[in-house]
Amino acid sequence: MPPSPDPVQKREPVLRASGLHKSYRGGMLSRGGAVRAVAGVDLELHAGETLGIVGESGCGKSTLARMLVGLERPDQGEVTFRGRPFFARGGVPRDIRRRVQMVFQDPLTSLNPRMTVHDIVAEPLRVHRLSPDARAMRERVGELLTLVGLSPDRMNRFPHEFSGGQRQRIGIARALATEPDVIVCDEPVSALDMSVQAQVVNLFAELQRTLGVALVFIAHDLAVVRHVSHRVGVMYLGRLAELGPAGQVYGAPAHPYTMALLSAAPVPKPRLRGRSRIMLAGDPPSPVAPPPGCRFHTRCWKAAPRCAEEEPVLEAVGAHYAACHFAERAASAEKGAAAL
């Protein structure tokens, strides 16, 4: 885990999301009603920290990412940047857009194949009028490419001439062009080969150290998220099941879903094969009709009748937060067993 930025809790967050809801309707999926992608998420992002979000497909993590950069307007709730709401009058103000950038999962489809690398990285400079003339712009693009570890003399080439890892670096250079305070990364390394993933993960860590940019790092790979994040949020069916410092969430998970997720993750250690694991039954339920009460109760081995009726709220459990009626007991039992 990267070293923690100085006392995070006391400062004003750069990004705050409160009560975010987003549903989609229309298309084939709407036969049973709207897809409730995100259903009540609150979180804060502080300057210079990395907040990791993990969850399975369909848990709403990409929708959350899009709302955090203002690409989607929440149905309810709002996102504020340094206290200023995203959707003031109509669109997101240009100066907020400039400060909150995004890196996408697939570097090939998120880069225009007919634009040169120079034009791709220069586009945000042009849109936000950050370079006085063409020469300054060229220089700045060169600087940005150097920053992400690419040679500036390749700026007149096209995306297809680069490897997967290099393309992701181009996407990162584009995100850095406007000197953002926040970069939201949606699965930034999952399309990359495993021998290349580590390069990009290290690049994020280094950029944060040198530039102090705050990151929201969304991924399904638990080990990668733990590696880069100071704090981690675990999402299940549109809500946060658990949120807290990475060491706490991974070391002493309080929500049964987090425990199951950690237990199910394949470990590259053949010697650990016989270990006892929590096996969940079935697949995650459809976000079109999430179960009543606790969303996880249909697959939870701790579920009691209360869980089917009453939706648990995110409450403090020790140093972190969990949304489970039995969280406290779960956390203390885990501590007793593992003595971490």
Binding site: E56, M194, S195, Q197, H227, Y250, V267, P268
Partner: protein, 333 residues
């Protein structure tokens, strides 16, 4: 041990021809799998692992593709001496393939019962009614609840994990000697992936089938395989018993991969990244393919390709590296 291995492949080459250029995707691969054993073929995209699987299945017989091997035997039967018809009869019965993407591997306009039943009707010639009964049996075996009711449902009515179970059911239906699973869990969520891996492992134990697991995930390979073969740029660079290979890698590529993935239990501040990217199959460097990215590479690595040779240590370990001995000595010292 007089029983022949379930699968024996010697010196497999697959070359694609595109736009007048030859692209060697697989360049001399040997594979041996014993009965009841799981071999993981581990590699990154473009390493040739899926092409190897398709070549074994005999699915690459088309223009522009050249497949040749010195030997190819499935449970004692010589695949090279067979006619296309005979090989076709083996596919689906003696050797089967589980695909990565269950939604595109299943026919969307046929019910699940029809698709599983087809196997029994084509290969065993049983009646429609019997095929249906056997299909329900298979669905129950792979843990589909209310199988008798769901047998008439269509693929889109099942969740991703359930669809993958259906593919596994089809793969084991005729009790094959060999199941080739090509990234069977890559499209699945972590919690569902664990279920499918356990299912494949349980069926292997119960039915004594051999499994060739194609994966890019070091974790998945570690969870279920007895032996692991690591592929890089169309060749196997290292193979051995899973525990030994992970503990004491004898090829720098394997060692670098293990160091490049974050450890869930012991987070370090920096990952040891491997510089560069895997070579394109069309332009593989001379000598050792990994040399340009290798921190141990010396002059000999750039000029002479190291052969895959047995190592003195461990049980049945092979590595293709000029520096294997030093690596193992350094690790043990």
């Amino acid at each position: 041990m007089s029983e022949p291995p379930v699968l024996e492949i010697r010196d497999l080459h697959v070359t694609f021809t595109a736009h007048g250029r030859e692209i060697p995707a697989v360049r001399g691969v040997d594979l041996t799998i014993e009965r009841g054993q799981t071999l993981a073929l581990l590699g990154e995209s473009g390493s040739g692992k899926s092409v190897t699987a398709k070549a074994i299945m005999g699915l690459l017989d088309r223009p522009g593709t050249r497949v040749r091997s010195a030997a190819a035997r499935l449970g004692g039967r010589d695949l090279l001496a067979m006619s296309e018809e005979e090989r076709r009869a083996l596919r689906g019965s003696a050797m089967t393939l589980v695909f990565q993407d269950a939604l595109s591997a299943l026919n969307p306009v046929l019910s699940i019962g029809d698709q599983i039943g087809e196997l029994f009707r084509v290969h065993l010639g049983v009646s429609r009614r019997q095929a249906r009964a056997r299909s329900i049996e298979m669905l129950t075996l792979v843990g589909i609840p209310a199988a008798a009711k769901r047998v008439d449902d269509y693929p889109h009515q099942f969740s991703g994990g359930m669809r993958q179970r259906i593919l596994v059911a089809m793969a084991v239906a005729l009790e094959p000697d060999l199941i080739i699973a090509d990234e069977p869990t890559t499209a699945l969520d972590v919690t569902v992936q664990a279920q499918i891996l356990e299912l494949i492992d349980r069926l292997r134990r119960d039915l004594g089938t051999a499994v060739l697991l194609i994966t890019h995930d070091l974790g998945v390979a570690a969870e279920v395989s007895d032996r692991v073969a690591v592929m890089y740029a169309g060749r196997i660079v290292e193979s051995g018993e899973a525990g030994e290979l992970y503990d004491l890698p004898a090829h720098p590529y394997t060692a670098a991969l293990l160091a490049a993935i974050p450890d869930l239990d012991a987070p370090a501040s920096e990952l040891r990244a491997i510089p560069g990217a895997p070579p394109s199959p069309a332009q593989v460097p001379p000598g050792c393919s990994f040399a340009p990215r290798c921190d141990r590479a010396s002059e000999v690595c750039r000029t002479t390709r190291p052969p895959l040779i047995p190592l003195a240590t461990g049980s049945g370990r092979y590595a293709a590296c000029h520096h294997s001995e030093e690596m193992l000595d350094a690790a043990l010292a």
